[in-house]
Every structure is written in C-alpha cells, then in structure tokens.
Amino acid sequence: MSKGTNMRSTLFWTAVVAILVYMTLPAVVVVATSFNPTEVMAFPPNGFSLRWYEKALTYPDFQVAFKNSLIVMGVSSTLAMLLGSSFAYLIFHYNFRGRGLLEAALWSPLIVPHFTTGFGFLLLGSHLNLTQGFAVIVMAHLLLVTPFVTRAVFVSLSNVDPNYARAAANLGATPTRVMVKITVPLILPGMIGGWLIASILSLTEFTASLYVTASRTQTLPVAMYNYIREYADPTISAISALLILSTTAIMIIANHFLGLRRILGIDNG
C-alpha cells in the first residue's frame, strides 16, 4: 500500500468516526447522565446507579403518558397504513384529474411546520368541541405520518412487476381477488415498513402534540417536557434512554420487514 492510499484511508476513517460521534453525541450524553447515583446531571456520570430508571418507570405521569402514547401510536399508524397504502395505490395506478394536487397535499406535512399543524388542530378541535381529546391527537398524528407510509408503499408498488397482476387476472381472478391474493401480499413488506416508521414518528412526535394534548391525554414526549420544566434530576435522562430503546426495537423490526423484500425476490421481479 502506498503512502498516498494510507493517508486517504486515515482521512476516510477519521471522517467516519467524526460523523458517528457527531450523530450520536447528544443521545450518548443524555443516556450517560441517566446512570448518575446522585441528583446532579453530571457528565461523565460520577458513579453508576439504576435508581432513576426505577423512578422513571414508577412515576405516575410517565406511566399514563406512555399508555397514551401507545394508544395514539397504535391507532394513528394503523390508520396511516390503510390510508397511505390506498393513496399510494391510487397515485400509482390511476392518472386522474387532480392527481398532482393530491400528491402535493400528501407532501404538505413535510413543508408545514409541526407547530402550525398542532396549532391548527387546536383551533379546529375547539370548534368541534373535541378539545384535546384522543380524536384530535390521532388526527394530528395521522396527518403527520401518512406521507411516509404513502412513500414506502409507492416504492413497493413500483418494484412489483405489473405482469403478476396481469397473470392473475388472466387466470380468472377478479380485480378484488388480484388485490387480495397478489398485490397486497407483494407490497406487504412496504406496508409493514411504513407502519413501523409511522409508529416511530408518532411515538416521538412532540411539537404538534404539545398543542393538542391535555394533562389527561398527554403523550410521553409532552410529559417529559412538563417534567423537565419542574425538576432537573436524571429521571428525564432515564426516560429518554427508555424511549430510545423502544424506537430502536421498532427500527430493528422495520428493517427486518423491509429486508423481507429481498427474501421474496420482489426487488428483481
């Protein structure tokens, strides 16, 4: 190996490490402080203890908020999967008047700040007398996560050979049967992947949730925010670490399902 290549590979690995550190540093700092044995948020921690985890898991506000988060996550990501898949199918298969408009509307949550969306639902909710109930929270989350499901399913649809559906119809399958027996199974990895991404986004959503939740319906990120406004002990670090752990678990499952695409041989279909 020449000196030049050596230099370049050193540079390369330095860059890789720098990116890794930069991307994970905030989370690492927070997780590290969660192990402090005393009430100070020292970094590096001045000892090791799990007492703040115990506190986090038994703190009533967090318990309620976690349950709320799971409900909102489950309902909004499932609805998003159904709605997003339908949108993707519609946009992929039909060239109708106003298709461009529908697509633009679907991407708008990426442009409109979460702050605005939350505030908008707060105003809407008060008009509809749904103020800060679960319905409004779910509607806000649904709107924010549906584009991601649509995107995932659209990519899946683009990767499926259209001749599969033709072959099924040719063998006598009605359009409904083609959908149930061929199209849905072939795009299922995309649907599940989209569902899991929607779950993560919903679980960690804070800005919009701040506006549409009340203390009874607050989700975990909102409860965490309320906690840190009053207390400054490492409980907040511990609950952060737990939230990271949950999303990582969902991410691993998502990757597993997106990886399924290759097992089914759909990518080269």
């Binding site: 050979d161 033709r166 099924a168 119809a169 063998l171 049967r177 027996k181 061929i182």
Partner: protein, 373 residues
C-alpha cells in the same frame, strides 16, 4: 359440464378470430388491420422482427390492451369488451411472472381456485399437470429455488392447468440458453399434442417458428405479410420481406430476358440463367424482378452441369457450422453469394482466394416483381 363445454368448443371450426384489429399509440400503428382466424387445436406462430406488434396483438387477445378498431372472438363469442378475467385464455409471459410468494403447487393451482373447483379436484388437476410438465416432486418449492427451465415449465403448467380456450405464449423460450431451448421446443410440441390446446405462439426466431408451427403468421410493421404452413412459407414467400426473413437467401436483381411456356430465362447483370417455368409466373419480357436463391440450391459445378447456370466465383470465406459449411463467394456481376456445402468436412473445400465454378439450381428459384422499379 366440463365435458359438454369441451365438445361445444371442438364443434367450432375457429376458436379464435381476430377481425380487422388495429392498435394505435398516438399516431403510431403498432398493429394495423390484422385479420386472422385460428382453427381449434391449431398451433399458430406470430413471427416477425422485434417491435413489429406481436406482443401488442397477443395482449389484445388476452384483453390486457383494448384494440383501437376491430373485434376479437374467442370460442365463437365476441370478447372485445369482455374483461381479462372472464376471457379464459392462458398466457405465458416472457418474464414468466410466476407469483414469488407462492410455491409451485399454489402457482399451478391459482387459476383452478378462481374457478371454484373442489379441493380434491384442484389437487388432482394440479398433480396431473405437474406430472405432464415433468415437475413431479417440486410442488413445494419456492419459485426462487427453480432453474430457468423449471420456471418455464411451471409457467406453462400454470397456463394449461385451466384448460384455456386458447394458450398464449409470448417468446417463452427467449430467456433460455440454446440447448435448453431445443429441449423445450420438443416439450412444447409434446404438450400441444397431449392437450390439443389452440395455441398462439410469439417469436422473432424463424427457426423456432418453422419447427413448431402448424401455420406461421409473418408480421412486419404491424401488418401481416403472409400466413402459411412452414414448408409453404419457406418455398413460396409472398414478398421480399418474407423471403429474406425466413431462412438464408441470396437476393439477385434480374430482368426477364425471355419467357416461354417451358422456361424463363433471366439476365442477372451480364449473366444469363434459365429456370423451369412456373404456372403462377406472369412476368413479361424485360420486366425487372428479384430472384431469390437459397444457399442449399447452389453447389460446386461438375461436368454434368454442362455449363448450364454455372458461374465462376472467388471464395471469400468458409463458415464452418458442424453439419455443413456456409461458403461466401464473390461473383463478378452478382456481388456476394452464399452457398451451403453439405457435410462439415474440410476436405473438398476450395481454398480462400481461389476461383471455382458454381452451379445454381433454379428449379426452386423464387421470382418476385421488383417493386422498386
């Protein structure tokens, strides 16, 4: 019920009728006024160069594409407006399109399950088809675990299991390597004999068409050029396109020099040749024609030829083909000529660069009016 249906179809002379069908994409005529009746049980091949409209025509029979004009009848019924799933055709796609999330059994069973057969009937018919296509023991395999040849057979099995009114094959052998292709040709012939299914086969390979078909439909630029049995097509091409597309052929511009009842004599450049007269030739003296001579109708001249239809050529190359050799020569006034020497034997070849006398057997010459003049 099934039996009655079968006899009803058999009683029909034509199981598929394509009636003045056209398909335009924008201003482009992909299929242009094609009419083709197909007899029950017939093996018909659509043959033509890539892009001539074969797939488009086949897709219109299956119902994937609506014709811009014309009608399609299957089993004596106008199906032009009938949706795909009610047409009862069996398609084998070029890419096979086997369902990747089902095993071999479920792929073959798919069509039968749409037809509400009982579970035991489905199993019986699937196993019967699987056996016929030499796939026994592979029922449980995933599609990704099959070789190209096996996938091909599963695709065929899936299409024939439903005993469709017509089997549609779109270049099914083109993805296979050469030896497998030859084997699958034999299996296709056997499959057709066993099932008696009316079959429309699409290919751009004239050899495949000649060896498989009852009748060949030669297409070019969306139009039918000729419909004929393989031998007839080879011997009596209707026009220059068919003559050049089917097999190897030497095209020689010629003028009718003299025409009598028994003979016709041609002036090809400054060379004079004589062919026995055919009744269908209506050429007058002085008319310009194209004379088509196949390489196998040219041989090294012997004394028996007595100088009749003999010319001198210079050997340019020998192309060894195993069972025979194609020799390319230059003949003054004719340009390059290809002849076919039987036997792949190197002995007896005239060395490259040397002149030799060759004799044209014009008993099977093809004369077509020269449209360019």
């Amino acid at each position: 019920m099934m039996h009655q249906k079968m006899t009803a179809i058999t009683a029909l002379e034509h199981s598929v009728e394509i009636k003045a069908v056209s398909k335009t994409f924008g201003s482009f005529h992909a299929v242009n006024n094609v009419s083709l009746p197909i007899r029950t049980g017939e093996f018909v091949t659509l043959l033509g160069p890539s892009g001539c409209g074969k797939t488009t025509l086949l897709n219109m029979v299956a119902g994937f594409i609506d014709p811009s004009a014309g009608a399609i009848h299957i089993g004596g019924v106008d199906v032009t407006d009938v949706p795909v799933h009610l047409r009862d055709t069996g398609m084998v796609f070029q890419s096979y399109a086997l369902f990747p999330h089902m095993n071999v059994f479920d792929n073959v069973a798919f069509g039968l399950r749409q037809r509400k057969f009982s579970k035991s009937e489905v199993t019986h018919k699937v196993m019967q088809t699987i056996e016929m296509m030499k796939l026994s023991g592979m029922e449980g395999r995933r599609i990704s675990q099959l070789s190209g040849g096996q996938q091909q057979r599963v695709a065929l099995a899936r299409a024939i299991a439903i005993q469709p009114k017509v089997l549609l094959l779109d270049e099914p052998l083109s993805a296979l390597d050469k030896s497998l292709r030859a084997q699958m040709q034999v299996e296709l012939i056997e499959m057709h004999r066993n099932t008696g299914l009316t079959t429309i086969f699409v290919t751009h390979d004239q050899g495949e068409a000649l060896s498989l078909s009852d009748r060949i439909v030669v297409m070019n630029r969306g139009q039918i050029q000729q419909v004929a049995e393989p031998i007839d097509l080879y011997r009596n091409p209707a026009n220059g396109f068919v003559a050049s597309f089917i097999g190897e052929i030497n095209a020689l511009p010629a003028a009718i020099y003299q025409a009598s009842d028994r003979e016709i004599s041609l002036a090809i450049g400054n060379i004079r040749m004589t062919a026995p007269r055919r009744a269908e030739w209506q050429f007058g003296q002085g008319e310009m024609v194209q004379a088509f001579v196949r390489p196998e109708h040219i041989r090294i001249a012997t004394s028996a030829d007595a100088g009749c239809n003999v010319v001198t050529g210079e050997v340019l190359t020998h192309i060894y083909q195993g069972s025979h050799t194609i020799t390319r020569l230059r003949v003054d006034g004719l340009g390059p000529i290809e002849m076919r020497l039987p036997g792949g034997d190197v002995v007896g070849r005239v060395p490259v660069g040397m002149p030799t006398q060759i004799a044209f057997d014009l008993s099977q010459v093809i004369l077509l009016a020269d449209k360019s003049s």
